[in-house]
C-alpha cells in the first residue's frame, strides 16, 4: 500500500473501518450511570440538599454521543474533512473548545479531540467521518464510558475549588476553556460554558462517587438538581 496519508479512493474504501451503531434505537430505553440516583425525581420535587440557599445547580446531560477523534493536526486534508462533518473547524489552540449547534468539540491533546453530539446522532456523525476522511486517523465512540454533568450557580467556583487544583479565575480560565485534570481523587474534563457554569465529563465508573462527593462538598452552599 502507498503512503497512509496519500491514498487513492479505492485504497480508502478498502481500508475503511467497519462501523457499528452501538445504540439499538430510540425505542430501547438507555440508562445513565446515575440512573439509580433518580435525579429526575429530585428535580421534580425541587429538593435542596444541604444549605437552604441552594447556591449550586446540578444538571446531568445523559446519554450523549462521545466521539474521540485522533489525527495529525498537520494534515490539512483531514482537518478540512473534520470541518465538513462538524460544520466547524477543530480547535487547534491548546485547551480550547468550539460549539456549533448541538455539536461541541474539545481540544484534549495536540492530536486528540473529544466531540459531543446528541446521543442518537453519534452513529450518523461517525459514518460521515468514515466517508469524508482518508488516511491514518482514529475515531472511537466512547459514549458508554462517560457522562456529562453541568454545574452552575453563584457558588460554583467555590465548589470547584474544593474539588480540583486548577486555577479557575476568569483571567486564566475564560469561557470556552477546557482542561482535563484531577477531580476529587478521580478525573474530569472541565469546560467553562458560562461565567458561572461549568461542564464536567466524568467516567461512568466514577459517576456515583462524584455524585456523592458533590453532595458532600456542596452542603454548605446547597445543591439543587435540575432536570
Amino acid at each position: 500500500m502507498s503512503d497512509m496519508n496519500v491514498m487513492t479512493p479505492a485504497e480508502m474504501a478498502a481500508t475503511k473501518a467497519a462501523v457499528m451503531d452501538q445504540v439499538p434505537g430510540p425505542e430501547v430505553q438507555g440508562q445513565s450511570p446515575l440512573h439509580h440516583a433518580d435525579l429526575a425525581s429530585l428535580a421534580k420535587a425541587g429538593t435542596v440538599l444541604g444549605a437552604a440557599a441552594g447556591g449550586i445547580q446540578l444538571r446531568e446531560h445523559k446519554l450523549l454521543g462521545h466521539l474521540t477523534l485522533r489525527l495529525n493536526p498537520e494534515n490539512t486534508d483531514q482537518l478540512a474533512a473534520a470541518e465538513r462533518v462538524l460544520g466547524v473547524a477543530l480547535p487547534l489552540q491548546p485547551l480550547t473548545s468550539v460549539e456549533k449547534g448541538s455539536y461541541s468539540v474539545r481540544w484534549m491533546s495536540p492530536d486528540e479531540w473529544l466531540i459531543l453530539v446528541p446521543g442518537l446522532e453519534a452513529f450518523d456523525v461517525e459514518s460521515r467521518f468514515r466517508d469524508e476522511m482518508g488516511g491514518h486517523y482514529s475515531l472511537v465512540n466512547s459514549s458508554g464510558g462517560s457522562t456529562v454533568l453541568e454545574l452552575s450557580g453563584a457558588d460554583v467556583v467555590e465548589l470547584l475549588k474544593r474539588c480540583t487544583p486548577i486555577d479557575l479565575h476568569p483571567t486564566v480560565f475564560p469561557v470556552g476553556k477546557v482542561v482535563s485534570t484531577v477531580f476529587a481523587k478521580s478525573s474530569a474534563i472541565i469546560r467553562r460554558t458560562g461565567e458561572q457554569r461549568f461542564e464536567l465529563v466524568i467516567r461512568r465508573s466514577f459517576s456515583d462517587y462524584i455524585w456523592l462527593w458533590l453532595q458532600e462538598v456542596s452542603r454548605e452552599f446547597g445543591l439543587v438538581v435540575k432536570a
Binding site: P94, S109, E112, P165, T181, V182
Partner: protein, 94 residues
C-alpha cells in the same frame, strides 16, 4: 508541590497531574539480538543517579497524556527546562 509546565498544554499545572517516568534519552540497542547479556542488562535495568543536572521523562497523566522531558537539578529539585520528545536539552551537566 511543584508547578510543572506542560509543553503541550502550554501552561503550568500541579505536580498531582503528572507522573515521573524515569531517565530520559535511553537509546534502545539497534540490534537487540547482537547484544551481549551485559549490554542488554545495562540497557534494561541500569539507570543514572546523578547529583545535579538530570534529564527525566515525565507524562501529563491527568491532562493531555503526552510524554515530555524535564531537566531537573536533583540537589534542589529546581526544574531547569522542559522540552518535548525529540528535542535536545539546552541545559546539560558540565
Amino acid at each position: 508541590m511543584f508547578h510543572i509546565y506542560c509543553p503541550h498544554c502550554a501552561e503550568y499545572r500541579e505536580e498531582e497531574e503528572f507522573h515521573a517516568v524515569g531517565q530520559a534519552h535511553i537509546a534502545r540497542p539497534a540490534d537487540p539480538d547482537a547484544c551481549s547479556d551485559k549490554e542488554w542488562g545495562e540497557y534494561m535495568f541500569f539507570r543514572k543517579n546523578p547529583r545535579g543536572i538530570h534529564h527525566e521523562l515525565w507524562v501529563h497523566a491527568a491532562g493531555c497524556r503526552k510524554f515530555f522531558n524535564i531537566t531537573r537539578d536533583t540537589q534542589n529539585y529546581d526544574i531547569k527546562e522542559v522540552y518535548k520528545i525529540g528535542e535536545k536539552p539546552s541545559v546539560v551537566a558540565e
